[in-house]
Amino acid sequence: MFRGRAATWPGAEPVLTVGAGLLVAALVLLPVGMLLYTSLRVEEFGEAAYFSLKNYTEFVVSPRILRSIGNTLIVSTGATLLAGFFGIGLAWSHARTNTPGRRILEPFTLVPFFLSPYVGAIAWSYLAAPRVGMLNGWLRWLFGLETDPLSVYNRWGIIWVLALFFTPVMYLFVIGSLRRMDPALEESARTSGSSILQTTRRVTLPLVTPAILSGAILVFVSSAGEFGVPLALGSPFKIETMTTQIYNLTSGSAIDYNASAALSTVLAALTLTFIYIHRRVVLPRGYTTITGRGYRPSLVALGRWRYVALSFNIAYLLMAVILPLLALFLVSISIRWEGRFDPRALTLANYAYVFTYPLSARAVWNSLKLAIAGATICMTLAILVGYTIHRGRGRGRAALDVLSSVPVGFPGIVLAMGILITYIRSPLYSTLWILLIGYITRYIPYGQRMVSSVLLALSPELDQSSRTSGASWITTLRRITLPLLKPGIVAGWLLLFMIFLREFPISVLLYKGGLEVLSVAVWYFVEHEGAVRTAAVAMVQVGLLLGAIFLFRRLAGADELAV
């Protein structure tokens, strides 16, 4: 509106903030627009393409696709219920009971949050697949069974693995709400004459309900958008979900981008509806119960039941972390795998193979390159966008806020579909750049929210007093804002680094020969190599992720995780 007197050029602030805003808008709007456009086109061989709703009215409602939609709804609902059971129970036992060892258990409960559900599904197939599952072997031996009691290759298996890996999402919402609650609310119920269990039921639980709903919606949306787990456990046995169908339509013999785009749009509509309900209905109902007082809420003394609670905790950790990682590790050091670990037939050759076979060796480097560059670029954009939203004064800040949050509502495979259509004819296609663009577009909301949460807690007057002290915008950014944002930036960078190391759906849709990343290598090994080598390449990914988790806890702290 006004122009600085001495300034003849616009200055660093508008150039950087407007530039970042426009870039984010383009990154998000282009693939979303192209997806919608493509879904409304019909391109049949030998005919001119034309606009039509045919993809929706004929293709999406075909029995095969309806069945996959049904499967998505079933596994997502099942996973949400089961993750709710685990997450609420774990959070309550950690925050409100005297369960022994709860402080040690807490960080481990979050570990699945950082691991790859796809690798988790593969690990569970080593545990509970028919014939070659270790657990099946033990159970047969223990109970003298003739047939295998467990199988992961069905909807129950998908539900089980999804629930285990999305439990931390539910857990984080519920424990956050329990921790923020003013202890006086529970104390006044106690002084009003209700017992501690009555208080839990009548006061604590209702206050936590909005957080439970938030967690449930996020678990549902994540499950519906999850690609790796149904690909590993459902697809081989013709149990398709929406995400695997979207993928199937872009590869193999029956390629149909228009149909795939239509199904993607339907899936996005489903997840966006849930996110919208969450923002509009659930979040405003959340009770703000924060107080500044440092009193700890009183704990429920469980008596002998506390060992039951402890067993529940250990059981969860066994299923979600210890058993899958153990299975993966044992398989990866075995010479061959037939369902039983043989300590006399150990080898490191599988790892040697992973690091020498060109595809997997390349994948390690590609993943590291993409994770480092992606996290850096994404956080840089997030800082500029977050700053513009919370500190800027230009128009369009609300729109930018929405735009930079919207990709959260798009499952990775859907956004990847849009990006594929958008960039397929550009020179970026078949370079690592297209993967980078995919990663950044999908995960800019994570970075933005990390930055925003810190910015919201910082008074804008800290920046302003630097300006009145005589520092320019860019000096203020460098000397005041960035140092104050550092904890959020570090936490955000590490989180994105981990997410990019394990990213699968975007990568598998956008990669070309030479651009393989770790998850793609795992998938290639599943298809073309044996179990032992697959386990080794998966272990490489797990090892990198565990290292990053260790760094994350040292540098950031667990509270930064609630995205």
């Binding site: 509106m1 006004f2 800290l462 302003q464 007093s465 300006r467 009145t468 002290s469 520092a471």
Partner: protein
Amino acid sequence: MTDYLVVDGLRKAFGRETAVDGISFGVEKGKILTLLGPSGCGKTTTLRCIAGLEHPDAGAIVIDGETMTSARERLFVPPERRSVGLVFQSYAVWPHMTVAQNVSYPLEVRKWPRVEVAARVERVLEMVGLSRYRDQYATKLSGGQQQRVALARALIFNPRLLLFDEPLSNLDAKLREQLRMEIVHLQREVGITSVYVTHDQAEAMVISDRIIVMNRGRIEQEGDARTIYTHPANRFVAQFIGQANLISGQVMEVDGLDGSLRVDVALGAGGRAPLRALPPGAGLQRGMRVLILIRPEDIEVGPAGATSRDNGLEGTVVSAVYMGQYLDYQVDVAGVRIRAQAKPGAPYRGGDRVALGVPPAACFCIPEESDGQ
């Protein structure tokens, strides 16, 4: 003489809310002016416009003859080039820097030589009494000390203007009074032109050379503390500054000799009583409707029947509260509630009949037409 700081026709709206509605004022060099008003009156927005932290919609701001903001000329000097020190209510000291780093920052960004910076930081920290905290992290200090850091940081680069945005509101009462005096001394000592924003009238009276009372984005009155207290321009100012009994009435007679007025005061249930008022408000004429302002501390409370010479009103004590220095009475005079603060020597209780004596010189008439409400 032209003012050192000139604010001319300043206007600023946030969305549909008009925060500052076209205000103009000036501050002489070396003086301290207070913008006083309730929260939301636009005083802080005005201050932030002067600092360059807000872009006004209209108007101009001139410091020392140099135009800083002019909406008409589409001119806006960014805050860092205005040479204006600002002290925030929230202190806004940087938690990632020590006291010395906070205070030296304005000199560093001005690229002062290192030796000079160190010397000047030393001197300014001494001025605000923080020398022994120089290497501590600033936010580890108490609120009062943090505000001293902020003050030192705002002073160190010899700004042309020092701005205070409710700097003492986050401190407790004792500290507030102490720091208030320190700010006055410091301001006089350095002789820096200052604008001080507060909602606390006592603070405004102690600190200011001149006071501007603001309400709803406009200036209600400008003057020194005494004028604003004894001659409020309207009902808003009368009620905002100090405690006020405001009784509406009509001028019945203007005395030709001493210029005093006889005002017919409307009481409850259709009752009326005459009051004599001295000195008269300017230009009051017979028949005009007025508000009579009587400060509670000017009212004498005596036994019923013993009417004083002038302006005797009889009433019933509703409540009497012992406040140490005085007794705070609520007296019902024919349906009108009057507050009086009397020496604790005359202990009347609820239900007692009393006579209130109001010296004519303590009755100030505000014409109803200029009522700000």
